[in-house]
Amino acid sequence: MLTLVAISVDGLVYAAWLFLVAVGLTLILGVMRVLNVAHGGFYSFGAYTAAWGIGIYFDRGWPAAGSFFVLAAAAIAVGLMLGLLIERGLLRWMYDRDEVIIALVTYAVFLILEDAVLLVWGVDPYFAYQPSTLLGNTDIATLPFPNYDLALIALALIVGGILWWVLTFTHRGKILLAVIHDREMSVFLGINVPRVFTVTFVIGAMLGALGGAVTAPIISVTPGIGVEVIVLAFAVVVIGGMGSIAGAAIGSLLVGLAHAAAVHLLPQIELFVIYAVMSLVLALRPRGLFSQAQMRRI
């Protein structure tokens, strides 16, 4: 029974984290049809900026409660700066090229960002544990869980909820959906597609950076965290179906629970359980859980 509780809660926490990390990626993929490998770089930069910011914040002895705003601020700042720089400065010249080439461009950007992290922050690990201890613990069925982890679940729900609400009920959201479905048609309808692209990319970057920022307090922030994360994010996006936020949510849930189950029951497969889940989903639904209808060819 205890194991069940542990698996459920750990699974939800891991799912929340995966969702936060992957949702920006699926948004960019869905709207722009761009496989943004640099997403791992947004994550790294978000984590490092947050850790560095937390360090300064507590050195100045400011009130602990405000440290969460540092995390949010780091995400927004990184997303805005890097997102604008990359989209306006590089990607927008590439949209007429083959999708594989665009993906390679983002891969090149990822490589550059990985080393940029080293240049700015060096090779030593950063620790920014303070926010994670501020909230204390809660006992669920006599097992202690850090409230910070539980707050991640709440954050994932909030982010997912906001995105869903924006896409479904607002005018801007409908414009995004239009571009997701048919870029060319959207142009003919008078939608400013280049601006949609820029906005989407920046939001995706902010979400990626947010994933890194909220993770910083619970890990040691070292070079290479982006590399580990990018593959997990892609797996979730593929499971959920490209461009589907709901798919990313359900995919994260599936992987999160499977991962937690593996950790508690079958540790030998912990490292690759996400790929096993992905293979299984793809075997049953070749284009992911939620995919767009394909037009009839002949």
């Binding site: 496989l35 590089l90 010249w93 090229r97 999708e99 594989v100 080439i101 390679l104 461009v105 891969y107 090149a108 950007v109 990822f110 490589l111 550059i112 990985e114 080393d115 940029a116 080293l118 240049l119 090779v123 590399v227 593959v231 892609f234 797996a235 593929v238 490209m242 030998q268 497969i269 912990e270 490292l271 690759f272 790929y275 096993a276 992905m278 293979s279 793809l282 075997a283 070749p286 284009r287 992911g288 060819r297 002949i298």
Partner: protein, 315 residues
């Protein structure tokens, strides 16, 4: 129809390199072996890329080839390079044959991610395996060549022997690839990429065509892995990690799909660039590679190969 001189050129270059090998420092020979061996993996990617598929999991077969050789040594004391390479190709081929049934039904990102998934599953298994040395891997000895063992402690002699062997394997692989690409099946690469429905309606199974290419690419990758492991003398799970697979894709795109020689040119340039970058800018060599990739993408849309052949069409 002008005669295709590709194979002759490849032969000439390889012979020149082999002849020059004893005259250059051993690290150059070492880079030569690694470049050619990795070039083999990229050759397989070229066949798949022409078909419109990017495999992000060739590291699976690269590692399988290496571990097959390593395990054969551990359990049977095998050191013969010929047998090792044949074994690696066979193991990779069988695994690819099985996985191919599933993979041949996927395209685009899904093909890439599924192929990556299998590589990462192997990685996970290898890392968790204590008997295989976990993340440390294990060492394998210098290879012998049909019983002939080059002067024991003479590291230079061993490497040169291995380089000649690698050059021969490279030539053989290029010949096979060239013939394959010139055949009907070889033309069912760009044809499939252009119009799968048409291929089916001409009477050929697209799935079977892709399955065959996947097995071929896997065998090349397995041979590459075996050669690298024999040269380095060490095998570890990192060979299966997705960044290794990413590197192969990187070189494939860099080289372009125009010729069977292109992967090797690209591979040599990549290894040299990486060596110098790591030597002189150890903390920023990723940055250098990333910048180089961007430059090639922006100014050489047909890959590095188009520097050699202005008329190179991106088929």
């Amino acid at each position: 129809m002008k005669r295709d001189r590709t194979m002759a050129c490849i032969a000439v270059v390889l012979i020149a390199l082999a002849v020059g090998a004893p005259l250059v420092p051993s690290w150059v020979v070492f880079i030569g072996i690694i470049s050619l061996a990795k070039g083999l993996v990229v050759l397989g990617l070229l066949v798949l890329w022409r078909t419109g598929l990017v495999s992000f999991g060739q590291s699976l077969y690269y590692a399988l080839g290496a571990y097959a050789v390593g395990l054969a040594y551990r359990h049977t004391g095998l050191t013969d390079a010929f047998v090792a390479v044949a074994l690696a190709a066979a193991v990779a081929g069988v695994v690819a044959f099985v996985l191919g049934f599933l993979l041949a039904g996927y395209r685009d990102l899904f093909f890439a991610m599924l192929s990556l998934a299998f590589a990462m599953i192997l990685y996970g298994v290898l890392v968790k395996s204590e008997t295989l040395g976990s993340t440390d891997g294990f060492a394998i000895p210098v290879p012998t060549f049909a019983g002939f063992k080059p002067g024991g402690a003479d590291a230079q002699g061993n490497q040169i022997m291995l380089f000649v062997f690698t050059a021969i394997c490279t030539f053989a692989a290029c010949y096979v690839a060239q013939r394959y690409l010139a055949s009907t099946a070889g033309h069912l690469t760009t044809a499939i990429r252009d119009n799968e429905i048409r291929v089916e309606y001409l009477g050929y199974s697209v799935k079977r065509a892709i399955h065959t290419k996947y097995v071929l690419a896997a065998m090349f990758a397995g041979i590459g892995g075996a050669l690298v492991s024999m040269s380095v003398g060490h095998i570890d799970p990192e060979m299966a990690y997705w960044t290794t697979a990413g590197e192969f894709v990187f070189v494939a795109i860099l080289s372009g799909p125009a010729s069977v020689a292109a992967p090797f040119v690209g591979s040599i340039l990549f290894e040299l660039t990486r060596s110098y970058a790591m030597e002189y800018t150890p903390h920023t060599w990723h940055l250098v590679l990333g910048a180089a990739l961007l430059i090639v993408i922006m100014f050489l849309p047909n890959g590095l190969w188009s520097l050699f052949r202005k008329s190179a069409r991106a088929t």
